[in-house]
Symmetry: C2
Subunit: 235 residues, 2 copies
C-alpha cells in the first residue's frame, strides 16, 4: 500500500495558529520534502518539540526537473507517508509544490492537505470585498508602464465580472505598488491593504481609493496582500 502525501502549512512565527491534529500527523512522518531544510527543521522543532528529527529527514524540493520530482515520491510509492513543507504558508498557494503534488496524482498517491494559515485567504476573509468571486493574480509586472496597464485591465475585469482582484509584491516594492494603485485606480474603487497577516501586528483595512489618497499610509517593507474591487459593491 502506498503512503500519503500530506500538504502541510507552516509559519515562521506563531505556533498556536495550527490545529492540534497537524502536530499528531507531523509526529508520524519521517520524510519531508521541503523548500528549505533549515527553515522546515526550525518549524517542526517548534510544533513537535519532542520529535527526533534532523537534516537526514529532509529532501529539498526540486521542481525544475520532473524526473527528480517524481523520484522524490519514491518512499511514498513504497508505503511511507511524506510531508510537503514550504518556508511559510500553504504549499502550492503562491508557493512551490504543484509539480510534486501533480506527480503524486499521476502515481495514484493520496494527497491530503492540512488546515493552516494562508495570508491570501485570511486577507480575503477580512477585506469585506466580494469573496464569492475572486482572482489571485500573484505578482504584477515590475515595469511601471506594464504594471499600470495591468492594474487598469484588472480594474475593468473587476467591474465587469464583479470580481475581487488579489495580488502580492516583494516587500521592498510594496510602497511603490501601493502608490501605483492609488494613481491608476478609480477614486471609488475599494482597496484592501492587509499587512503582517498571521502575526500579532496584523492590520487589515479596506477603504475607497480616494480615502487612501488622503490618509498618507506608509507600507514600508511589511508583508502585504492587496485586494481591490471596482464598481458598485453588490455581493
Amino acid at each position: 500500500m502506498k503512503g500519503n502525501l500530506y500538504i502541510i502549512p507552516s509559519s515562521i512565527s506563531e505556533e498556536n495558529i495550527f490545529p492540534e491534529i497537524n502536530k499528531d500527523i507531523i509526529n508520524t512522518i519521517n520524510h519531508f520534502v521541503v523548500e528549505n531544510s533549515k527553515v522546515s527543521l526550525g518549524f517542526i522543532k517548534r510544533i513537535c518539540p519532542e520529535k527526533e528529527i534532523s537534516y537526514e529527514n529532509f529532501e529539498v524540493l526540486d521542481e525544475d526537473d520532473p524526473i527528480i520530482t517524481s523520484k522524490q515520491l519514491g518512499l511514498c510509492m513504497r508505503g511511507e507517508n511524506i510531508g510537503l513543507l514550504t518556508d511559510a504558508g500553504c504549499p502550492n498557494i503562491a508557493d512551490p509544490g504543484a509539480k510534486l503534488i501533480l506527480h503524486a496524482h499521476e502515481n495514484n498517491i493520496n494527497v491530503i492537505p492540512l488546515v493552516g494559515p494562508s495570508s491570501i485567504l485570511l486577507a480575503m476573509m477580512g477585506s469585506g470585498l466580494n469573496g464569492n468571486n475572486f482572482s489571485f493574480n500573484g505578482y504584477l509586472p515590475v515595469d511601471k508602464n506594464e504594471r499600470s496597464i495591468k492594474i487598469k485591465k484588472l480594474e475593468i475585469q473587476s467591474r465587469n465580472n464583479n470580481q475581487s482582484q488579489i495580488f502580492i509584491e516583494t516587500p521592498y516594492r510594496n510602497q511603490s505598488l501601493f502608490d501605483d494603485l492609488k494613481r491608476n485606480l478609480n477614486n471609488h474603487t475599494f482597496l484592501c491593504v492587509a499587512k503582517n497577516i498571521g502575526s500579532k501586528n496584523q492590520k487589515i483595512k479596506t477603504m475607497q481609493v480616494k480615502d487612501w489618497k488622503s490618509k498618507k499610509e506608509i507600507i514600508e517593507k511589511e508583508p502585504t496582500i492587496f485586494i481591490f474591487h471596482s464598481g458598485l459593491v453588490t455581493f
Copy 2:
C-alpha cells in the same frame, strides 16, 4: 475603545481542525452575528463545551438591509467584541459576511480573521494545479447552453493566463456539472475533483479530462470543489 470583529471559520463535523486559539477567542466573545442560530449554537457548544451560551447571544446576519447590517455592529462600536459565523466554512469566502465586514471597515472597527478550514483553499492546495494564479468563480450558470459557453470561456482564460479555474455547485447538480465539464473541456485539460473536503472521507483527484472520461466516476450529492487548468502545465 471599540471592540474587534472576529471572522470565525466553522464546520458542521470535525472539531480538531481548528487551532486552539480560536477556542480561547470564542470563549471571550458574548455576541455573535450568525447565518443560522441553531447551527452556530451547535458549533460553539462543540468547540467550547464549558461556555455558557444561548440564543440570546446570537443575532441573525441581515445583509439585505445595509442599515440593519450597520446596526448589528452597535455593540462593537460600544466596546464589545463580536464574532461573525456562517454555517460551515469561512465567512465571506463563498459565504455571507461581506457587507457586515465592509461596514466594520467604514466604522474603523478592527477586523480579525481566524485560521480555519476552507474547502476551496484545501482543494487548491491539494490539486497540484497552478496556485500562483487562480480564480474562484463561485457557481456556473444553470442553463445548459450558457454553462457550456462559460466553461469554454474559462478554459480559454485558463490557457491564455496560465490560471486555474475553481468553482462549486449545489450538491444535487454536481454530477450534471461534472458531465458538462467532461463534454466541454479539451481532453488534455487537467481537472481536479475534490470531494468531502474537511471530512474523514475526503478525496482529491487530478487527472486529464481524457482519463476522467474513461474512469466513469460518480459524484452523486457529495460536496465537491472543481478546479481545472488548461494548456501546458507550467508553474
